[in-house]
């Protein structure tokens, strides 16, 4: 039986729901606890970001542990930007040892976006090779240097893919590559352009990849028009259609956030109907308190208890 609740839920055939917690920009552990409290009972697993956008935050590892203690199944995100293969393998062993059994392999946003743009980046290995590393540690019991691992880490290996990045034509191939490397679940970038996501899913199904990996569709509710615009213009790899911004503009100012939630719930329902989608990944950044109503609104509450 898998140590990962997320894996158990997905294997059982239930439509999975994962959430996200961004750690605080300080050592105050209560911030994580408060965020977690909003999500309790509404998600099968919770992502913990790793210095996202290259902004220094409490480590993903520490924050994952806090959430573990609260009864969550943490999905520890790990970027290749800040650590070499020695530190990575070390952290993987540590995480597994402390009951963190889901790992999301990412390249990591370039440091120029964050609060330490003068830092040196690492990128010793890339996300594809990170997936291979985890598989090797877990299945072969070997370190990258070839030595034996005494006590293999039990990991449910995840990755990310962006159906909205360029070049579009290789985005399904890239997912297939990650599957070949050993990825077991994938969370996509948040979806606002459902048509484009559908196209990507078509390409994915053509390659037969949807049967080899659990695909969780990324969903983010727009809190404000400003947020939608910011994501459209300033976040690389985001596709925010004008129609969405127009829809938010079309309601009175005090109703915009409600409309954002409505759109998110509609998107969940639409992607749920697409063949090959095994769940959703809800990224309600700094808006975790609205997750319960979105999960309920989409008919995804209560979450299954799979043993």
């Amino acid at each position: 039986m898998s140590a990962s609740n997320l894996e158990r839920v997905l294997k059982s055939g239930s439509f999975a729901v994962t959430g996200e917690c961004g750690p605080p920009r300080g050592a105050d552990v209560e911030v994580i606890r408060k965020k977690g409290a909003h999500l309790k009972g509404y998600v099968d697993g919770v992502n913990v970001t790793d210095n996202q956008t290259s902004v220094v935050r409490m480590s993903s590892f520490a924050s994952s542990l806090v959430l573990k203690e609260m009864g969550f199944d943490p999905i520890m995100q790990m970027v290749c930007r800040d650590r070499n293969r020695i530190a990575i393998q070390s952290d993987v062993l540590g995480a597994a040892a402390l009951g963190i059994n889901n790992l999301l392999c990412l390249s990591g946003d370039h440091q120029k976006f964050g609060d330490h743009p003068t830092a040196k980046n690492v990128y010793d290995i890339d996300s594809m090779q990170l997936i291979q590393t985890l598989k090797r540690l877990r299945d072969e019991g070997k370190f990258l240097g070839g030595e034996e691992v005494k006590g293999r880490p039990d990991m449910f290996i995840g990755c990310a893919e962006n159906p909205f990045a360029d070049p579009f034509e290789i985005r399904a191939m890239r997912l297939a590559k990650k599957v070949a490397a050993g990825a077991q679940f994938v969370q996509t970038q948040c979806i606002f352009n459902v048509e484009k996501f559908e196209k990507w899913m078509e390409m994915v199904r053509d390659l037969g990849v949807h049967e080899k990996i659990y695909i969780l569709a990324g969903i983010t509710p727009c809190k404000s028009i400003g947020m939608a615009r910011y994501m459209k213009t300033s976040v690389p790899g985001m596709d925010v259609p004008d129609a969405l911004i127009d829809r938010l503009k079309g309601v009175p100012k005090e109703k915009v956030s409600e409309e954002g939630i409505k759109i998110a719930v509609e998107t969940i329902q639409r992607v749920r109907a697409i063949k090959g989608v095994a769940g959703i990944h809800l990224m309600a950044i700094e808006w975790e308190e609205r997750v319960p109503e979105m999960v309920q609104g989409a008919g995804l509450y209560p979450r299954p208890q799979v043993n």
């Binding site: 370039h110 010793d124 090779q129 893919e161 360029d166 034509e169 290789i170 191939m173 890239r174 790899g237």
Partner: protein
């Protein structure tokens, strides 16, 4: 060629502040090609410094001298008769040349007038761009002649990342996405299936991370 940029004028002025007689060195190779430290640029910087120091009421004497190269001992040795006449040497050569002159004239301050940046090519007159960072383990055969280590901001071996937009890198919208270039080349050559090959881990021990490097040809040593 090695590409460099002249340091900001304030930095240069600060460095030569204590000196009254300076030898300003240029190089006829790489820094000439990228219009940073050849004889023309040496002449212009010398002129600027004289004007500035005259204006400040602290005249400076600058001798302009451009060597064929600053990275071979024969050329650097040619300075021996003159070097002692100066308070300091300022060099517009690349970091290799600046250091080499310092190694040969140990009681001389050798100051850098440029910031050495990258190894690159002339994309068009007036535009030089990075191509190689000397990883010591060339895989250009695998990526159809486009280097993922240098052309990708994250040196991904299995790119592109999720930030590639419109063929441009997330780091700079004027920088082409290295992996877009590789994919385009694969398409051009009808080799898209190569994209599915997972590139193995890089052995970085051959790059600078493995320690300062040296190449020796015993058969050439005198």
């Amino acid at each position: 060629m090695i590409v460099a940029n002249r340091k900001p004028f304030e930095e240069i002025v600060e460095m030569v502040k204590p000196y009254h007689k300076v030898l300003l060195l240029g190089c006829n190779e790489c820094v000439t090609v990228c219009a940073t430290g050849g004889s023309k640029e040496v002449a212009v910087l010398a002129s600027e410094l004289r004007l500035y120091r005259e204006k400040e009421g602290q005249p400076i004497e600058i001798t302009e001298h451009t060597l064929e190269r600053n990275c071979d001992p024969e050329y650097v040795e040619s300075l021996r008769p003159m070097v002692g006449n100066y308070d300091a040497v300022m060099s517009m050569a690349c970091g290799c040349g600046i250091q080499f002159v310092g190694e040969h004239y140990r009681d001389m301050r050798v100051l850098p007038a440029v910031n050495t940046t990258f190894d690159g090519v002339t994309e068009e007159q007036g535009v030089w761009a990075e191509r190689c960072l000397g990883c010591g383990n060339c895989i250009l055969d695998k990526t159809l002649g486009i280097c993922p280590v240098t052309r990708c901001a994250k040196s991904l071996f299995n790119g592109p990342c999720g930030g590639s937009t419109g063929g441009k890198c997330e780091v700079n919208k004027d920088t082409p996405c290295g992996w877009q270039l590789i994919v385009d080349r694969l398409k051009e050559m009808n080799l898209m299936e190569k994209y599915m090959e997972i590139q193995p881990l890089k052995d970085w021990s051959t790059s600078h991370g493995g320690g300062p490097r040296k190449r020796v040809r015993e058969d050439l040593k005198l």
